[in-house]
């Protein structure tokens, strides 16, 4: 199901949570809403789910206006951060709930419900646990039950609010893969909220970056990471050194560091340089010295915290071999390979 969000606005009291947000989600897509806390991402998800009604704008499911439709009409599957499993029901009853509450002809028979529950519990790899109560499960298992319960109604869209936020790192990683697998198996349009960029970039087909109730950028993980359209995205996604300096005559300058900033008007500017875009280079035009303070190996990469003679702190990342003999205190000659520069 295609979901279209058109100029949706929502305020809580005097606090604006969403500010004329528009977004198209393609059928079968896996989209991440990524942003810091208070950016409006959860509010947007709840507006799509029908758990909040917007003050202005429209929410369309396919061609149909669902802005103020009830949840039953939308047929969403919603997964809550704290699972929100019904604590007095068994796992199987939890999963069956969305089908149990249907009325009349729409309600499947007992046998149909039971076989659907079985199928879903196998999908999330909890086949044996149908008779347990939520309190008897681990956090990861509970979130799988919540996922199965949301999928039971054959949702037109699956919505997940920080689905892995309450889990420890290992479980989070494996559930992430699990969600991708389940999404690929069911093909259901899926939107999930996260503040964890690694999660968003690893899992999603496309990522929408929210900040202060507005969408900053929508794109594939690669686009978001490699071509940030503004200072917020450049600073929020991926690691970078933020340099507040000045552009004059198409060159950015701060302290000892200087590099080309073509097409940027003269004046104050913020530049973002990823650690791996600081390149070792023979001393020459455009190079500047960095004195290594701390060297941390990290897989194939060595990360170096350093400072320029002028006192500017920078973080750089190099292939391990290229800096194998560098000790703390050593002086490196560096060049800025690529930078994102935005006027301020």
């Amino acid at each position: 199901m295609t979901i279209s969000i058109r100029s949706v606005g929502k305020t809580f009291g005097r606090y604006p949570a969403l500010n004329s947000v528009s977004l198209e989600i393609a059928d079968g897509e896996l989209l991440a809403l990524l942003g810091p806390s208070g950016s409006g991402k959860t509010t947007l998800l709840r507006v799509i789910a029908g758990l909040e009604f917007p003050d202005s704008g429209q929410v369309l499911y396919g061609e149909q206006d669902m802005t103020f439709a009830g949840a039953a009409q939308r047929r969403v599957g919603f997964v809550f951060q704290q699972y929100a499993l019904f604590r007095h029901m068994t796992v199987a009853k939890n999963v069956a709930f969305g089908l149990d509450v249907r009325k009349g002809a729409a309600k499947p028979s007992k046998a149909e419900i039971a076989s659907r529950v079985d199928e879903l519990l196998r999908l999330v790899e909890l086949g044996e646990l149908g008779k347990r109560y939520p309190a008897q499960l681990s956090g990861g298992q509970r979130q799988r039950v919540a996922l199965a319960r949301a999928l039971a109604v054959n949702p037109s869209v699956l919505l997940l609010d920080e689905p892995f936020g309450a889990l420890d790192a290992t479980v989070r990683k494996s559930l992430r893969k699990e969600l991708r697998r389940i999404h690929d198996a069911t093909g259901v349009t899926t939107i999930f909220v996260t503040h964890d960029q690694e999660e968003a970039l690893e899992l999603a087909d496309r990522v929408a970056i929210l900040n202060q109730g507005a969408i900053e950028q929508v794109g594939t993980p690669q686009e978001i990471h490699d071509n940030p359209v503004g200072a917020f995205v450049a600073g929020f996604v991926g690691e970078s050194n933020r340099l507040e300096g000045e552009v004059r005559g198409g060159r950015f300058r701060l302290n000892d560091v200087e590099f080309a900033a073509p097409g940027i008007a003269d004046g104050r500017a913020a530049a973002f340089v990823r650690p791996h875009e600081l390149v070792l280079s023979p001393r020459g035009e455009g190079t500047f010295p960095l004195i290594a303070n701390h060297i941390a190996p990290q897989g194939a990469v060595a990360r170096i915290d350093g400072v320029t003679p002028g006192g500017l702190r920078l973080e750089a990342a190099f292939a391990r071999q290229s800096v194998a003999d560098i000790q703390p205190g050593a002086k490196l000659d560096l060049l800025v390979g690529r930078a994102y520069v935005f006027p301020q």
Binding site: A84, F86, H88, M89, G98, A152, V153
Partner: protein, 280 residues
Amino acid sequence: MSRLRHPTEDPIWAKVLILVIVAAFLASVLILPMVTVFFEALRRGLPAALEAIGTEDARDAIKLTLITAAITVPFNVVFGICASWAVAKYEFPLKPFLITLIDLPFSVSPVVAGLIYVLVFGAQGWFGPWLIDHDIKIIFAIPGIVLATIFVTFPFVARELIPLMQEQGVDEEEAAVSMGASGLRTFWSVTAPNIRWGLLYGVLLCNARAMGEFGAVSVVSGHIRGLTNTMPLHVEILYNEYDFVGAFAVAALLCFLAVVTLVLKTLLEIAQPPSRPGRH
């Protein structure tokens, strides 16, 4: 020996001292009076006690007490659920004020509660003339007794449910609604099962107090034998008439009802399955 003790554990002498203080206090303040009640009731043997409970006035008092409890408890269940639902699930101005208001009967003397109703509904009260014109009797009649009892007991259910529902939040209800459950279905399938133990607990406490309330009921009842006498009032009348066996026999019955209530409550706590959290 003391070296083997767990570092955060109290020494033996402190444990013994604290236990002795608690036991002595319970024995002198709770157990001794209870035993006395039953002892005095049975002083002239079981038949005499049963005869005192079996008099027409006593039977009427028992009946009125049960009727009062039977009206008060359902009323307070409905009110308690509504109030705690409002406090736990809605945001609205003056919420702290509402919570304080629910506690009012705990802080106001029951006698004052009774007097309020006399002032409002009594012959000289605000609505007195209107009520007399329409031949409606509230004070010195059953409606007054029920009203006074409701006033005194209405915190019990609400106080039990508010913290429980606040702790449970609205996530499960939202989940049910997101799956297409109606409001009523959500209440019966999700909310009600989550609060049932707390609710039962509140009902039992409310019931115990409804049967035992003396002060507020005493003011509005008028003490008309056979008509507006509840069990606690009947105990007082018999006692003032030096019918000690009768007074203690009815009192023993009241105690017995209270003990049954508490035993039920304890059984409920034991019966609560551990796999279903939601203990109050």
